[in-house]
């Protein structure tokens, strides 16, 4: 086979792929990067003897591709970077057995059993250690429209996690209040950044003092540099600014390999895989009883301070985008 490939070049290579071996195989579309989850996949293969073929790409690109493929999709599992993508294409997922959700901490569960969370993250406020005093930290995300914060705060309106937060704001306070908050933030000269990481770097660079990001980014800077001049905090208990969100995976209903796909989801929810995700990815495990990464707040705290909003409720991205367009952020 190998010699053939070399001889006939790429055409032969193309033909060789569908004709792969008969061993148990699994096709995964992963919006999570190989750098983080590659080791989990390898371990899964070693433990189960199942061969996992993974397509790594952007979560949104893969979600769009899955819609395009419809019932011809070669994918068995879709592993997404954020809950919004899972919600957006949940009609393409097969129903999961209810017992799959049982071991999962309640805050993270998908009530419709269309997908399982694989890790949790919360929205946090990052700030400059050099320029911000403890007393100046806002109690609520609504305080950021205050004159005191003019021109000092950053956000990333094109970022999926930020948009999920805006949707949650709409669920919690209604569209009118959300619009008022967004306009207040714009009037207060809030700076637009590309994503979470660039806000943190912007704070270190002295461009801004505060940023609205997910909890796991700062840890990546602190790992290489303990003195990195950025810290993170959360808002007062129950504030929508502390929103909990998830990364998760579902089984594509077009798959004729549901059995094997379920083994993979079970594996992701196993203590070993969950422990790896929290230690390597700075995210929260979705099953209780594990050691949470030391850069994170405790599991109990996070459940205590997070707003009572069901992740499934924050699926109306269309409405959020319309609102963001209306106020001129997109």
């Amino acid at each position: 086979m190998r010699a053939l490939k070399l001889l006939a070049g790429c055409v032969a290579l193309a033909l060789a792929f569908p004709a792969a071996s008969q061993a148990e195989e699994l096709t995964i579309y992963s919006g999570r990067g190989e750098a983080l989850i590659g080791p989990i996949i390898k371990q899964f293969e070693a433990d189960t003897g199942i061969k996992a073929n993974v397509r790594y790409a952007g979560t949104s690109e893969l979600a769009t591709l899955l819609q395009e493929e419809g019932d011809q999709s070669p994918a068995d599992v879709f592993w997404a970077q954020d809950g919004g993508a899972l919600g957006a294409i949940s009609e393409l997922f097969a129903d999961l057995p209810a017992e799959m959700n049982e071991g999962i901490a309640e805050a993270f569960r998908n009530v419709n059993n269309k997908w399982v969370p694989t890790s949790g993250r919360s929205r946090v406020l990052v700030y400059s250690k050099e320029r911000v005093k403890e007393d100046d930290l806002p109690a609520s995300i609504n305080d950021l429209t205050d004159e005191k914060y003019r021109g000092k705060v950053a956000w990333a309106p094109t970022n999926g996690s930020f948009q999920a937060f805006v949707t949650a704001y709409r669920v919690a306070h209604g569209d009118e209040a959300t619009k008022a908050w967004l306009e207040g933030m714009i009037a207060n000269d809030t700076k637009v950044y590309k994503n979470n990481g660039s806000q943190i770097e912007g704070i270190a660079n002295g461009e801004i003092d505060f940023g609205l990001v997910n909890n796991y980014y700062l840890g990546r800077y602190l790992v290489t540099d303990k003195d990195y001049p950025v810290a993170m905090t959360h808002f007062a208990s129950g504030d929508v600014g502390n929103l909990l969100n998830v990364a998760g995976a579902g089984i594509v209903s077009a798959s004729d390999n549901q059995e094997t796909a379920r083994k993979f989801l079970d594996y992701l929810l196993s203590p070993a895989a969950q422990q790896y995700i929290t230690l390597q990815g700075n995210e929260y495990p979705v099953i209780p009883g594990l050691i949470v990464n030391t850069t994170l707040e405790s599991f109990a705290t996070i459940q205590d301070i997070s707003p009572r909003i069901d992740i499934d409720q924050i699926s109306d991205l269309e409405g959020t985008l319309a609102l963001l367009r209306e106020v001129g952020l997109l």
């Binding site: 290579l13 792929f17 952007g58 591709l65």
Partner: protein, 497 residues
Amino acid sequence: MLLPFVYLLARALEGDSASLSEIVFRERNFLLLRNTLALTAGVLIMTTLIALPLAWLVVRSDLRFKKFHSIMGVLPLAVPGYVMAYALIGMSGYYGFATHFFGIRLPRPEGWSGSVLALSLYTFPYLFLNLRASLLGLDPSLEESARSLGRTPWQTFFAVVVPHLVPALLSGWLVIGLYVLGDFGVIALMRYEVFSYAIYTQYSGAFDRVYAAWLSLMLMAVTLSFIMIEARLRGRRYVRTGKGTARPAAPVSLGRARPLVWLFLTCVYVASIGLPLMVLSYWIWRAGPLVDPREVLTAFYRTTLVAVPAAVAAIVLAVPVVYLTVRYPSRASSALDRLVYLGYAVPPLAFALSMAFFALRAAPWLYQTATLLIFAYVMTFLALAVGPVRSRLLQIGPRYEEVSRSLGHGHFASFMLTTLPLLRTSMLSGSLLVFIMIVKELPITFLLAPIGYSTLATTVFSRTSEGMMAEAAPHALMIVLFSSLFVGLILRHEGNK
């Protein structure tokens, strides 16, 4: 070529008209349009200011180490856009070189000027390659005539040389302009909002193919107008009319300007190649070497396995397209020419989706195979191969073939015997452009490649997507080195003309 267009239309027509007019005729779209045009204009001016002197110096002056300068003029192409943007931003800021080594904090490059600078620094090679191929083929007897008629060297340059470079300038500008229209990586980091921004947000935020299709079509309308303008401005005679073989031009002595020239070259090289390499090395130094050599080798091998056939196929297709449009100008042949650019103008993500759409319906067994991937590459990047070949063919003229035919050879044999050998340099330039683009291309690769098939670009992406910039650095460096290797190899074998 028409497939993505059909696909976008099909998706676009699924939308309901009320919310549609809201999306299409928003005031913000006009702002985006204005920004897009301002950005494109800035980049075109900047790239010309870099590429034109560089090409002239490399071809016409008595500058030494010309091969080296040719390579340095092409290498920046290999730099991924986000690396270039980071390189500029990385000069300032907390971890910036300026802070780290000199203790000063520079203002952060951003907005229009930051985007223009970053985009220009790695797109100018398109123009450089086109201009260089064109200058190499220009008969110096024209300039000698102008000089003998009393024109100064400067007057000669602007009255004789520049007009003959118009086709090369236009095709270079077109490729750069279209690239700028579609770029997302740089403008996002530089925080400058243009059209591609809106498209990306639609796909990524809403998982929505309908409105994104509309926005893509709007972008394509802008693109088409660029293509039309370019075609309008073309269309003069550039054929060499002198008899016999053109002598190589006598090199112009730089004289006292030599230090200035070296200063210019140094600035260009430091900014376009030095900075990105410094930033990458710095990241690697901070994170420590985390590269698995086997992984890099596999990615290297796999990248070659798709990029080389695609680059070869692109040039093989480009030659007949150019030949038809130049030698047999007609409505049909110019439509064919426009179509080539249409493929390049479709936003890559939309292109990949349209390929999935058609492959799944027409040839499911081809879906996500290397064959389809190579096909998609060729359709997208064919325009890059066309530019240099056209500029050169316009200079060659039909006379050699006519002579060959009068000696009893057929049409095809005459072309193979006379014109093809003369096109060689430009064909190399064209395939090089395609090759380098493919090596760093992302959306098409990760959606359409055979499953588990990781190229150099996807290995970079799987790190940056988790925010691990430092871990991605060794792989990004591999892209630059890998492309450099090919640039060097090809220019070495180009032969001195």
